[in-house]
């Protein structure tokens, strides 16, 4: 498959998402909405005693781009502190995806990153 956007990695993550689960106990939870897709995502984060992410889960419905991005960002932040998560930039998120994101799809690509960032700032 030589599709620039729907690369195998993106499609794999869409079909087999990472960390797509409900946490039984968590430190913080946030529901977020992507007005372009009209979709809802719920993210949950559990911190350990050292203030590092012990577990993270996300649920909801979304397009291939938003779902792949959610898988990537949730995997990336495991073991990180709140401050380290806040330090992850938009560029970092987009380079993790590694695909050309059009203006119309930017909200999909950044849904998880945005949600997580505002969750951390609210802590």
């Amino acid at each position: 498959m030589d599709d620039l956007l729907y690369k195998d990695m993106i499609l794999d993550l869409y079909k087999h998402p990472l960390n797509r689960k409900n946490l039984e106990s968590f430190t913080t939870e946030k529901k977020s909405h992507n007005p372009t897709c009209g979709d809802l995502v719920t993210m949950q984060v559990l911190f350990d005693d050292d203030g590092k992410v012990k577990d993270i889960g996300h649920q909801g419905e979304g397009c291939a781009i938003s779902q792949a991005a959610l898988s990537l960002i949730t995997d990336k932040v495991k073991g990180l502190t709140k401050e380290e998560i806040i330090a992850i930039s938009e560029e970092d998120m987009l380079s993790m995806l590694g695909i050309p994101i059009s203006h119309a799809r930017m909200k999909c690509a950044l849904l998880g990153w945005n949600t997580l960032k505002s969750m951390m700032s609210e802590l």
């Binding site: 599709d3 499609l11 897709c37 397009c63 291939a64």
Partner: protein, 401 residues
């Protein structure tokens, strides 16, 4: 279809390969509408009413003409036509005004397929007054269940308001039956004609409906203009909810008397260019012939549904009978989010609309959290557009297989 109508729409000059399937959101504008708006702004672009000079007199005359053109189009009288900003505005006006009379114990009957514009205003009224909201359900063929309507409409029903054609399913409401049921209990009837006005001949007298609302931009007219039709005696009983200039007869520091119907509902300087442009749009439709448009669209809808049904895994969210679709065909492809469908179609210059179509409760009811991918047709669509759409849909299916 050899007799293309695309030539009348200048957007096809700049984008000749565009396969536009989003008329349900907004129809493209023909050159004559653009010319008419330009003519207003360049030749007599001033305010209407009481301007005792030539340009204002012309603007007033053109604005009045537009009201007459629209009235004739739906078989109403000019004084029954209130110019508004769009369907949402009209439904909010009606809910706000009629809602003042409601109390606990009363009920408002809507349908399961309402656009948010015909749901949320009533939700607000229900919250404020304690009135109950009821929803006529849909059956397995995505049509309104008239037997359910008979149960929902009762002696406490004060308002029956429904979308004439579902903007998601394309189904047509049994308007006459619903209105007859409402009349038995003296309920006020309202039709949201946003989706039907462009596809079906609308005759308010035959429908015998109290109020009917639609938007100009879905009727090949400009944005920011719409129409609230009300029976003369019903408009006379309706309290205005927006106040200011032009809607008054006499004013003192303490009180005001309302102007005649329909002017009492048109406070402030209206969208003059919009109304005049809408008049031009209606004249354009009449010159092509609504029946001719309808025949073309029916044929094309059939072709589109047949083609869609031949693709693997594509589910039509709506009746399997093409004749029960009025300009709208929604699909769901398991395993492909609607947004990804739209993205891949856009690569081939195919414009569709995806998501919940401002009908979130219906999407939840149908178990479609990602909504549907919606094709909506206009007079300009042809089989080539459908073929392009099919090629791109096949590509989407292939990418996600």
């Amino acid at each position: 279809m050899k007799d293309s109508l695309k030539q009348y729409f200048p957007l096809y000059t700049s984008s000749p390969d565009l396969a536009y399937f989003d008329t349900g959101a907004s129809a493209l504008k023909p050159q004559v509408v653009i010319d008419k708006i330009r003519e207003y702004y360049s030749s007599y672009g001033v305010n209407i009413h009481r301007g005792l000079y030539e340009a204002s007199d012309r603007a007033t005359t053109e604005h009045d003409n537009a009201r007459e053109i629209v009235a004739t189009f739906i078989n109403a009288e000019p004084e029954e036509i209130v110019f508004i900003y769009g369907t949402t505005h009209g439904l909010n006006m009606l809910a706000t005004s009629l809602g003042q009379e409601l109390k606990k114990g009363d009920n408002i009957v809507l349908t399961a397929w309402e656009h948010h514009a015909n749901l949320i205003p009533w939700q607000q009224i229900a919250k404020n007054t304690g009135a109950e909201l009821r929803f006529v359900d849909i059956d397995d063929d995505y049509q309104l269940d008239i037997e359910d309507a008979k149960k929902k409409i009762d002696s406490n029903t004060k308002i029956v308001s429904f979308g004439h054609v579902s903007n998601t399913l394309g189904s047509l409401a049994p308007a006459k039956e619903l209105i007859a049921l409402a009349k038995q209990v003296q309920a006020i009837t309202i039709i949201d004609a946003a989706q039907s006005i462009v596809h079906l001949k609308t005759d308010v007298k035959k429908l015998d409906v109290d109020f009917l609302v639609f938007s100009g931009h879905k009727l090949y007219g400009p944005t920011g203009i719409g129409v609230l039709y009300g029976k003369k005696e019903k408009l006379a009983q309706l309290s205005p909810v927006m106040f200011g200039g032009d809607m008054i007869l006499d004013v003192s520091y303490d009180s005001a008397e309302w102007n005649d119907v329909p002017y009492r509902f048109e406070s402030g300087t209206p969208n003059i260019a919009g109304a005049i442009g809408l008049g031009a749009a209606v004249k354009f439709i009449e010159s092509i012939g609504l029946q001719h448009i309808q025949e073309r669209e029916t044929k094309l809808t059939s072709y589109l549904i047949n083609q869609l049904s031949s693709l693997p895994n594509v589910q039509i969210i709506g009746s399997s009978n093409p004749s029960k679709h009025h300009g709208v065909i929604s699909i769901h492809i398991p395993g492909i989010h609607t947004h990804d469908i739209a993205e891949i179609l856009n690569r081939h210059n195919v414009a569709i609309r995806v998501g919940s179509h401002c009908a979130m409760p219906l999407m939840k009811k149908l178990g479609l959290p990602g909504g549907t991918a919606r094709f909506s047709v206009g007079m300009y669509n042809d089989e080539k557009d459908v073929d392009t759409a099919m090629t791109s849909l096949k590509e989407a299916i292939d990418i996600f297989k």
